[in-house]
Symmetry: C2
Subunit: 156 residues, 2 copies
């Protein structure tokens, strides 16, 4: 397909970025994936202002990617923590692909800080490109083809 | 590992986002992946201001993710177009993971606009989680373990 012939705003990447297109948003999701759920912990661990954190969390809740759960510890006032919803957990490949690229192309001075392991066997986990027929697919063997949902530009 | 015990800024996701943490940046990369290379085409197809486009492209060039190539058509002044470098092309999984999530959780009214196909067999291409032992890995079977590059907080 000639990409320029199509409208660029009918694109699932663009729509995903309406939810995610911000550095703090992705780092908040990383914290939730890593089991950090309380506002104060998020604030302190990320070093993000309370203001920005509040706005990003509200937006993630409004998008249905994060849910807010009220809880109350004995003798204390009610508080809330934050958890990924089903659609939030499905962002895992976005985070893993960023992690992999960062490990490789922006290595930390002391080497990669974490490794993703398969719980069952301990081997390193990563994303691979495969097709529905079960083939391993090389990067340049991915072809983008238009579906009926694509819109030609200057139509009519 | 207890994620809160570690410094959160020694993280490859955070370092990747220093390059990518912006909606326009990712959409520019999408255009380059889709074969759009000229400044004017990028400007028009994305609907991004020339100013923002110039800044984002310069930053991507400075990061070594995009390269600027001068060319001259007969009888015209020299111009430049923009191409992904090796490390830029390795961002493909980031874009595919965003595409997949967007298709699934932010579907367009007319259905997904594009499909990724395996050049050899035509079957749909996607990212799968696998481990180095060749197992398919389920989402919740990914365990994050610290490496020597991780930094404990409040050390000493």
């Amino acid at each position: 397909m000639r990409w320029l012939d199509y409208e660029s705003d009918v694109c699932s990447i663009a729509r995903a970025l309406e939810v995610l297109g911000d550095r703090w948003t992705i780092l908040i999701l990383r914290e939730l994936f890593n089991g950090v759920h309380r506002f104060d912990d998020l604030h302190e661990h990320l070093g993000v202002s309370r203001d920005v954190l509040t706005r990003r969390l509200s937006s993630l809740v409004a998008e249905g990617v994060v849910e807010r759960r009220a809880y109350r510890e004995p003798g204390r006032r009610e508080r809330a923590d934050y958890h990924l919803t089903g659609s939030g957990r499905e962002l895992q490949p976005v985070l893993i692909s960023l992690l992999t690229w960062g490990d490789q192309h922006r290595p930390a001075a002391g080497g990669p800080p974490v490794r993703l392991e398969h719980r069952d066997c301990g081997a390193e986990v990563g994303l691979t490109l495969t097709c529905a027929e079960g083939h391993q697919v090389r990067r340049h063997d991915v072809v983008t083809t238009p579906l009926p949902g694509a819109r030609l530009r200057h139509a009519g």
